[in-house]
Amino acid sequence: MLSLHKDHQNLVLLAFSVFVVLSIGVAIIPAYQMEEYQPIPGQKDLTVSERKGLGIYISEGCVSCHTQQVRSIEMDKTWGERPSLASDYYYSKQRMDIWRQSPSLLGSERTGPDLTNAGNRQPSDQWHLLHLYNPRLVVEASVMPRYSWLFRQIDTSSVRDDDVTLPRGITKMEGGDVLVAKEDALHLVAYLKSLQQFSFEDPPSTDFIPVLPKEESDNGTSSSSKKSIGASLYQNNCAACHQGTGRGVKGAFPPLAGSLIVNDKNPEMLIKIILMGYDARQEYGVMSPFADKLSDEDIKAIADHERSSWGNSVPKVPIETIIRLRDSISKLQ
């Protein structure tokens, strides 16, 4: 009929048209459908600076190691409160300019952490800048490249008022030199901080899929697992600054090992700092409040972990103290 073995025209036409039809069905139509999504009410557009930061995020190829998708599976719980939705990408996935298309943000490899909620996890400017200048200053085991070309080295005397500088000690500056963040670094940090998963008032009931179906009988967690809950909460919320070793980063973030506040018999100051944040000491960066991010149990677990690790050994914090302090703080506000 078609005599494909002998008729080159029919052969090529058939291969061409079937491929086009399949492509329309599996790529073009779904692509058009995915364009119809609307933003979640209340979701904010990127600012000019954040959009520029997104441009740098793309041109430096951050997407080759960082994903931005919380998948609907249990292990991704760490990266966000809920699985990502198509609407989450409404503002960020638009054509960048005439030469460059819509950025490919979902990613295909997670050599570094997922960044869907990076802004919530790590709200400190100073941390982001140090981390960009040299990731190993704040995360010892990191294999991320340095982005030192986003900073320039100038003399302290020529620093202008609106310049953002890095601490001199930790960046090992000699003489009167100091590192100043270039515009691009500030845009990039603005973008990274804007990465906050939008939370609903009434979360839709999309559940994470567990690895394997769980057995219901497993009730009551042992004390050893409680300890590891504290450790992993600490890893996820505190270790970026205070480090997994509790030693902090000299000239940027204070140590917790041997800290007077942590080792105080009366845990009130420690709990207050966790709840309200802290900016009392010049030589260290600002700590942001965690009252909205952590439950009372979480705070207890973290505080207990801090008070019993790295040579610290003081009694556990009673949960009543945390509840009482949280109440009094909310009354103050």
Partner: protein, 586 residues
């Protein structure tokens, strides 16, 4: 409820500990063992031959006696024999216009191998030379030369990028940072190495199977410059921080890709017109694959870069489609076309089944096109699209089985050639990886295995298994099989052997280390350990990856040298041509 159908089947007593019993994981382990077995097989074949050789030597008493006699020769006798030999050689060289056999002492054997050399034994040389037109030869050498250059450059970049995992502080230059160099590596080996090699070899296949010259060599050259310019400019842009949006293999911005696309269109029409005016009535199966892969890739590039439906997650749908089709419709399809020609021609027998080839062709088109979204399983893309992708990933078993069976059956009965030929091991590795890599890829698309492996370094292992194990090994096989025949120069066999073993062992080290590391990483995530632990645990595996990568890179330098040896023009030839020109002008 959205529940993995795979999991429903095995609800009985499952905990996170018995991940090993998941069919995808078991399948992959079996596949890896197939490859290891292959290495051992080739090695044993070689060893066997060598042991045979040794045994023969020790048993051959007359040879021993002969040796004794040689040792007992006194100095005068030896000098005499040597002089006679020398005279014989000289006489032969002088007489370019052989009228009579010069000296009986010239002997037949020009090269004497040392049977005591334990490492390399001599393989049969390719004896047949094939006469093709100078233009065709020139175009093939152009394309393959560019390919070799891009291979060495691209894998140098790859090796450098791989070392950055071990030493992240290697440099502080923005042009050499990981995020910018990674796409340089992938795009160079895609559009530079593999594409140039395929099109170069494609010229030969199209011309031979149509029994005529290529329609226009001028157009071939235009396409050559366009595509190489695209890779060159595109890489400069990438290193300068200008990319299209970070989608894998779509990193070149559209003006740069347009150059490449025009090159593809020119090549397509050039090939099409050659086939259209062929001097035989049937279209050989290779040409089905080659023409179709060109037309599909042109469509693919247009869809991949057309902007209208790509704001928002539409971009992600297209990305999954584009990235997988780039591999499946371009590299895989074209390479299969080449193998359908070169494998039978190397073995000097017909392909096992033409119909199986046709079946593989149509199923390749139907199934491969639909599986792109398996790169985004559990993502916010529509669930039906993900399911289609997974189902048809399993459907890929059909073209893969059809293709592999065809190749094995063609090779059947010629296994003994493996120990004698330096081309066949490349074919065998490529064909085994075609089966192993493709089937493993299908396993990886299942929801549980995806759960475990997605986002980890396992993906990188898979892509090297396919792009390197399949495509690159088959390209080498085709090049070693055809270049000596058309240029008349063979590379020394110990260099081809070192190329083969370094590349093969390097790939195994690369693959296994990232597969094991990737699995451990996935398990660490499932356990809910802090993220940084998964970075720390990868450290040793990244070192082994870099070691494997180094072996692969060294093998490419050897290959580059072999290529030079195969295509260099002999001085004698140019001299004699000049002489004939002079003679003519006189």
């Amino acid at each position: 409820m959205k529940i993995n159908p795979l999991l429903i089947i095995q609800t009985s007593e499952l905990t996170s500990e018995n991940w090993l019993s998941s069919p995808g994981v078991i399948g992959t382990i079996v596949l890896v063992f197939i490859v290891l077995f292959l290495g051992v097989f080739i090695f044993i074949k070689r060893l066997n031959l060598y042991v045979d050789l040794l045994e023969k030597n020790t048993k051959d008493l007359t040879e021993k006696e002969f040796e004794k006699r040689l040792i007992n020769l006194d100095k005068k006798e030896v000098d005499e024999i040597l002089e006679q030999r020398q005279r014989g050689f000289k006489a032969k060289l002088k007489s370019a216009d052989i009228t009579e056999t010069s000296s009986e002492y010239g002997g037949f054997i020009k090269k004497i191998i040392d049977p005591k050399n334990p490492l390399f034994d001599e393989k049969t040389k390719s004896t047949t030379t094939i006469k093709i037109s100078e233009e065709l030869k020139e175009i093939i050498v152009w394309y393959l030369g560019a390919a070799v250059f891009w291979l060495v450059f691209g894998t140098l970049v790859g090796q450098y990028v791989g070392m950055k995992f071990v030493w992240p502080e290697m440099d502080n230059s923005s042009w050499l940072s990981f995020g910018r160099l990674r796409p340089v590596h992938t795009n160079t080996v895609f559009w530079g190495w593999a594409s140039m090699a395929m099109i170069g070899l494609g010229h030969y296949v199209i011309s031979r199977t149509s029994n005529r010259e290529i329609f226009s060599y001028k157009r071939s050259k235009v396409a050559f410059w366009l595509m190489n310019a695209s890779v060159f400019i595109g890489n400069l842009f990438l290193m300068g921080g200008i990319n299209n949006g970070g989608g894998e293999y779509r990193e070149y911005i559209w003006p740069v890709t347009t150059l490449f696309a025009i090159g593809l269109i020119v090549t397509f029409f050039n090939f099409y017109k050659t086939v259209a005016t062929r001097k035989i009535s049937e279209i050989y199966i290779s040409n089905w694959f080659i023409l179709a892969s060109l037309i599909w890739t042109i469509v693919l590039t247009v869809i991949g870069y057309f902007p209208d439906y790509q704001d928002g997650l539409g971009e992600t749908v297209i990305q999954g489609y584009y990235m997988h089709q780039g591999v499946g419709m371009w590299f895989m399809t074209f390479t299969l076309g080449l193998v359908y020609y070169f494998l039978p021609s190397t073995l000097n027998k017909p392909i096992y089944s033409y119909s199986l080839g046709v079946l593989a062709f149509w199923t390749q088109m139907l199934f491969y096109t639909l599986i792109g979204t398996h790169h985004f399983v559990f993502s916010p893309l529509p669930w039906w699209l993900q399911t289609v992708a997974i189902v048809f990933s399993a459907g890929m078993f059909i073209p893969v089985f059809a293709g592999s069976t065809n190749f094995y059956m063609t090779m059947r009965g010629s296994w003994s050639h493996i120990s004698k030929s330096y081309v066949l091991p490349f074919f065998l590795v490529g064909v085994v990886f075609y089966f192993v890599g493709s089937v493993q890829g299908s396993f990886q698309a299942f929801r549980f295995t995806n759960y475990l492996w997605h986002f980890t370094d396992f993906n990188v292992a898979h892509s090297h298994m396919t792009m390197y194990g399949i495509i690159t090994f088959l390209m080498w096989a085709c090049m070693y099989s055809i270049l000596p025949k058309i240029t008349g120069n063979e590379p020394p066999q110990y260099l081809v052997g070192s190329h083969f073993w370094l590349a093969f062992i390097g790939l195994i080290a690369y693959m296994v280390s990232l597969m094991v590391g990737g699995t451990l990483k996935g398990l660490s995530w499932i356990e809910g350990n802090p993220f940084i632990e998964s970075v720390i645990l990868m450290e040793n595996y990244w070192v082994w990856r870099a070691v494997g990568g180094s072996l692969m890179f060294i093998s490419h330098i050897i290959f580059g040298y072999n290529f030079y040896l195969m295509v260099r023009k002999r001085k004698e030839v140019t001299l004699s041509r000049k002489q004939t020109l002079q003679a003519e002008s006189n």
